[in-house]
Symmetry: C2
Subunit: 795 residues, 2 copies
């Protein structure tokens, strides 16, 4: 916890301070414009010529001056208060500004030594921007000091809160663009302040930057009267400080004052909560900054206004190489920053530019908060034995897998009670997903009003529940990227709500892994439960197993998918994913009672292999190839396959059936397509090269084909899975409707094993009959046939 800072008087900048701040800002603006336009002649030591200009002008000037202004002023308060600060840069295409800031403070050159803080480095900085082999125009993993990609908009504020959680000494400034503010995820993130504990968490300082326009339109928030906007922000629980203007000196003074007031207010909130025990929910300060889009850039181009309009969004002077007038205008614009006052002859920033720039790890480009792997500690996952279920023989007992996992998670929560570096997030489903054992070790965080009837709510809880998958995902991303651990527990169907966010996180991890200076962070772990097969009271709208397909389109070095079939395999998988780094792990596991198939050691061995034969479930082939392979992935398909194998053993004992269970879906891929991919010899040994394979899969059946189409056995592969046939019905009716039930699987075997169709015709008919009986029974009774409901499997 930081020492309480003495409340300082609101800033009264000296003229020297003002000159230094303005110099830094002008330098950053110069560097931002230079990145968009210049290939050489970075200091304008020669008159600007066509050949100095990049052949393709790509980049976004509009947002840069505002971001630069904030970078400049954050430097001042960080230095002045010795703040531990991180900044999230929300607006899109903010790359030029943040790159400029980190180049100026030296952190860029420390990260990328070939981009020196001098004229040669400046030329490289300019050239590489939006240039092949260079850096993107968004704030991206390549940018030091960043944990937030400014490409897809909407997640800045959630990321900021995630970073602030359990970092009591940290102030996270979060710049929110007024375009971004129109997104749903950002709109609901304002309420994240009801989940921020002033005692154990750091502060978030939102800076809503209204430059008035998105790509081609005004923004909603910028066109509200100030009194209406002020009400809105107060309604969100903030005390807004409004800074507005287009005169640099006035804006510098007002913004410095706003920062001082905001940080004083944060100090006060912390002191009251931490020292005086005040428990009222604080109304946190925030800053509203209204400045022109493309401020200090060309005011008019070709007779139409540019500065302060949407036309300043991208490249305000688009035809510099072709149009000598534009070239002259660009030169005048660049020289308006008086680069000779800002950089010495070698191109190094002058003292006045650097006067308020923080030092060492306090610099925004150098904070280890933004390279979380530097701060990451091993998660204390306890031994699994005390939580494992005893399995004397397979299929003799039932457990709810997620409830078993809950015991393990409670211990992880308990073991991190002091360190506070593990959180569970979820959309109001932790108990519904049967993980409520964790409330033995912590509570759900809640800073708003509580009532006597509430349970498991506390200001310092580390379970985070809010009915917004976006907020859950954003919090967790911010938490992980700043060096902590976590788990996202979610209904399977509704995790699609964050499809696009997980895309971006996977892309972030993929890019980060290629940057040697970025250290591995804890994986983002999904536990998808309340899955497609067990939505008894929810029905069709809650049935979607396609998230697995979605993530398996993404970079194989990042993505892992696990379908543990019972409680102990879930424990083993959880143990693995909680310890892993730089991955996105998708674990699909049911919360309903499920047969226990494997003891703990068997489960560990099976999960380590990722896929294997369950000899006890099949029939002995006497050393020869089996007649048929029954494969399965997922808890419900596994149960149906084992029931089918049991039926076959009773009725066709001479048939050699091999049962294969797959936990780690990527094992099905060729080894060159995924690090977990299985070599052909291993795949062929498991699935054979030419026997019929009936594969019962948890999700959409074609995923299995997509993973295995190169295998020898593929022409003999027949997959059953979810066919988008769902409704409100019984569990067994769901598998019948989608042709995944044990009786259908037996029929499939009869249909596909050569010669069996005639021999087993009556068995096939009796399987068809029981399916018909099932249909009639559930319509009449509203429950499954007793022979299904009471079925159990024992060897």
């Amino acid at each position: 916890m930081p020492e309480a800072t003495t409340t300082t008087a609101p800033a009264d900048l000296t003229d020297d301070d003002l000159a230094a701040l303005d110099a830094h800002w002008r330098a950053a603006n110069y560097l931002a414009a230079g990145q968009i336009y210049l290939l050489r002649n970075p200091l304008l030591t020669e008159p600007l010529t066509r050949d100095d200009i990049k052949p393709r002008l790509l980049g976004h000037w509009g947002t840069s001056p505002g971001l630069n202004l904030i970078y400049t002023h954050l430097g001042r308060v960080i230095s002045r208060r010795d703040l531990d600060a991180l900044c999230i840069w929300g607006p899109g295409h903010g790359g030029p500004a943040v790159l400029a800031g980190s180049w100026l403070d030296g952190s860029y050159s420390e990260t990328y030594p070939d981009v020196t803080r001098d004229a040669a480095g400046m030329e490289r900085l300019f050239r590489q921007f939006s240039f092949p082999g260079g850096v993107p125009s968004h704030v991206a993993p390549e940018v030091p000091g960043s944990i937030h990609e400014g490409g897809e908009l909407g997640y800045s504020l959630a990321h900021a809160y995630g970073a602030a959680l359990d970092n009591p000494g940290l102030v996270v400034a979060c710049v929110i663009g007024d375009g971004e503010a129109e997104t749903g995820p950002l709109a609901t993130s304002w309420h994240a302040n009801k989940f921020l504990d002033p005692v154990h968490d750091g502060a978030v300082l939102p800076i809503l930057h209204l430059n008035g326009y998105k790509i081609a339109n005004p923004t909603v928030l910028a066109r509200l009267p100030e009194h209406e906007l002020d009400k809105l922000l107060r309604g969100f629980g903030h005390e807004p400080l409004h800074v507005c203007g287009d005169d640099p000196a006035e804006v510098h003074r007002a913004l410095a004052r706003a920062f001082d007031l905001a940080l004083d207010r944060i100090d006060l909130i912390h002191r009251l909560a931490r020292e005086e025990g005040v428990e009222d929910r604080p109304h946190w300060p925030m800053i509203v900054l209204r400045t022109p889009k493309g401020w200090t850039g060309p005011h008019e181009v070709d007779g139409v206004p540019v500065e302060g309009t949407w036309r300043a969004h991208q490249v305000p002077l688009p035809n510099v190489r072709e149009n000598p007038g534009h070239l002259r205008q660009l030169e005048a614009w660049l020289r308006s920053y008086r680069p000779e006052e800002l950089f010495d002859e070698q191109g190094r920033p002058r003292e006045i530019v650097l006067r308020h720039v923080p030092q060492g790890r306090r610099r925004l480009g150098a904070t280890p908060r933004a390279n979380g792997g530097l701060l990451l500690r091993e998660l204390p996952v306890p031994p699994l034995e005390p939580f494992a279920v005893d399995v004397d023989k397979p299929g003799a007992t039932l457990h709810e897998p997620t409830r078993v996992l809950g015991g393990l998670l409670e211990q992880v929560m308990a073991a991190t009670a002091g360190r506070r570096d593990f959180r569970i997030v979820g959309p109001d489903e932790t108990a519904s997903n049967r993980l409520d054992a964790v409330y033995g070790a912590t509570a759900k965080v809640w800073e708003a009003e509580t009532l006597p009837t509430d349970e498991h709510l506390a200001r310092d809880g580390r379970v985070m529940e809010v009915l917004s998958e976006h907020l859950c995902q954003g919090w967790l991303e911010g938490y992980l990227l700043t060096g902590r651990h976590g788990l996202f527990s979610c209904y399977e169907a509704f995790v699609h709500i964050v499809d696009s966010m997980v895309n971006q996180h996977i892309k972030w991890l993929k890019s980060s892994r290629r940057l040697p200076w970025r250290r591995p962070v804890a994986s983002l772990n999904y536990l998808l439960t309340s899955h497609v097969w067990r939505q008894d009271h929810n029905g069709f709208s809650h049935q979607d197993p396609g998230f697995v397909d979605h993530v398996l389109n993404k970079s194989p070095e990042v993505v892992r998918v696990y379908l543990p079939p019972d409680a102990n395999t879930l424990l083993s998988v959880a143990d693995h994913v909680l310890r892993s780094r730089d991955h996105v792990n998708v674990v699909v596991a049911g919360k309903q009672p499920c047969f226990d198939w494997l003891g703990l050691q068997e489960a560990r061995d099976h999960c380590a292999r990722g896929a294997g034969t369950w000899d006890w479930a099949g029939t002995d082939s006497g050393g020869r190839e089996p007649d048929v392979v029954l494969a399965c992935a997922g808890d419900v398909p596994t149960q149906e396959v084992i029931a089918a194998a049991s039926l076959l053993r009773s009725h066709l004992p001479e048939l050699a059936v091999r049962v294969v269970n797959v936990v780690d879906m990527a094992r099905l891929l060729p080894e060159r397509e995924h690090p977990h991919g299985m070599p052909d010899f291993e795949f062929d040994a498991l699935f054979t090269r030419d026997r019929p394979v009936i594969f019962a899969y948890h999700g959409y059946p074609w995923l299995i084909h997509r993973l295995t189409y190169r295998r020898a056995v593929h022409p003999h592969l027949h997959v059953r899975g979810y066919m988008e046939e769902g409704t409100t019905t019984t569990p067994f009716d769901m598998v019948v409707r989608n042709d995944l039930d044990r009786y259908r699987l037996v029929m499939d075997v009869i249909d596909r094993v050569p010669g069996l169709a005639v021999r087993a015709a009556s068995l096939r008919q009796s399987m068809a009959d029981v399916r018909s009986r099932h249909h009639a029974w559930i319509r009449e009774h509203g429950s499954d046939l007793p022979e299904v409901a009471e079925w159990s499997w024992q060897d």
Copy 2:
């Protein structure tokens, strides 16, 4: 437009009115509880026994009394004012309430004649609820009067606004649950009032129902002090009317008064805008209704409080069949509504219950607004000829396909100027996506402040731009389901933001198609542009072609995917999808200059076939099977394939190359898996059964395998596509990085045509060389090799 209603005095309910409203509410509560619990004995004519109770108790009581109260009071104001009203029921699991309401008003029995409005029908109504073969617990397509599924939460308010657009006489009440209000999409939907024109659009009346809890937690908005919530809602641009209580009579009075005030205020807003020409943005009324969760249900169960807590969420008495005490408590609860006062001996609602229920099509369950196909008119799509580009020979000219489409869309906009039943939605990208010709016929709707520098903004515009894909999607869904037409233009990568929404819309359409009383509605059409291959200034975060994979997992009767390769094929596809019904059409087309390959008639013929040989692009095989098939889907892959075919013709003229282009992706599927699927004989004739097929595809390559794995030629199929290798670079470098470029395709042909490896070794080497030269050149120059940039194709 409705006649302006005289402003009425706020409601002063007579005791008779109060009694009638309360009777309706009690009846609805009785019916909601009955649906959750009762299998028989619906009128409690006998003492309740265990056998009267459903075997599986599924359903959600908590939200029902509040929804019933609103249904009751909406009936009163609809009758009193002869309102054309639609209600969107946002809270999850609201089925029992809305089913109760429509059964009471008779619309349910008219829709489902076997569920009569008497004791027998009541028993059916009870039994079918959350019962196999019955109806889901959410408001769903099966529910008359509904256009909104209450399963996945967050979209109610966007749907409400979509329904109100261009329906000036309509009032759309929208009940927002306080759980749902935490979602991102709902949070940003509050600002939709800045896009609602009081002259041409109807009104939306949000009713924020704070019952305090979601599944297991309090809700954020319910735990704000009223003054803070009030500020928030005023900040959203509303004038809130607060109704709070747990005494039924008081709440009836207050809610009736609030409805009267709100509707008076709406009338006033309309009159000022429509008759007095007032142009100020109105601050629309809304209602905040705070009542206990599970109100009128069991107060305590087993010694813990239930009514007014989260424990009332689902089934408040969970063990009725096993626990005689619970059974007695259930009976007392049901009898507390005094069913004998509400229903006659035949189980028909008594007069007092129906006194304020509206008549005919004014009933919420009978409004044609909620069965949009009844109101749908053919969209006047003009002849394509004036917009088509001339193609004397393939590849001789370049056009931007979306700009060409913009001309057509302008005419559709112009032709619907009076009818106002066509809208384009998009996240601030209509001009960026080069559809700005539409501004010749309409503008972007904008009700907030405007400045002199703004362009193309108007209060009555029919292009809707907001930086929220969720809001765009929700608006369009609401617009289409109420019987209008539209198009969603979106960046390809970011359409994943609405993955989950499109899931739900597809599920809605699939279910609706199985209900004979639901009439077909216009399709939801996506135009995905700014696609993966042309993100020159955006880079990796903007590159994702996986939406196609996502939708192709869904019901084949609903989903269609088109990849037109040039301007005229885009016109033809657009013409088709704009006229289609009950589909989700995904059209992927570039905005960058693209060769024109087909004249209009050829384009029509090609699109009608969905896939076909382009003889002019290949080499004549002299009537025999080709040596190799070069297949393509998507504009950039098509260009690379044709360039590769051209290289092969120059360098290996004796090689017989067939070029196949695929527009309609579902044609690749077997005919039994999709209505557009191709029979094997046709597929084999196109792709051969045994020749090497090199398939250059726009998206993830394994999608092609997933679609074709059953085809004879599949073992010979080699697919190139996006391999998640992206960055900020040149267009050609993108295809090189992903091995989709013409040179790689030529190498693939050489590697796969038997006997060619030796014969064409030097050509292969020169292809490899040019790829190396490319790499060096773009790093140096930042632009593509001149031979690539200047390449053109002519026969």
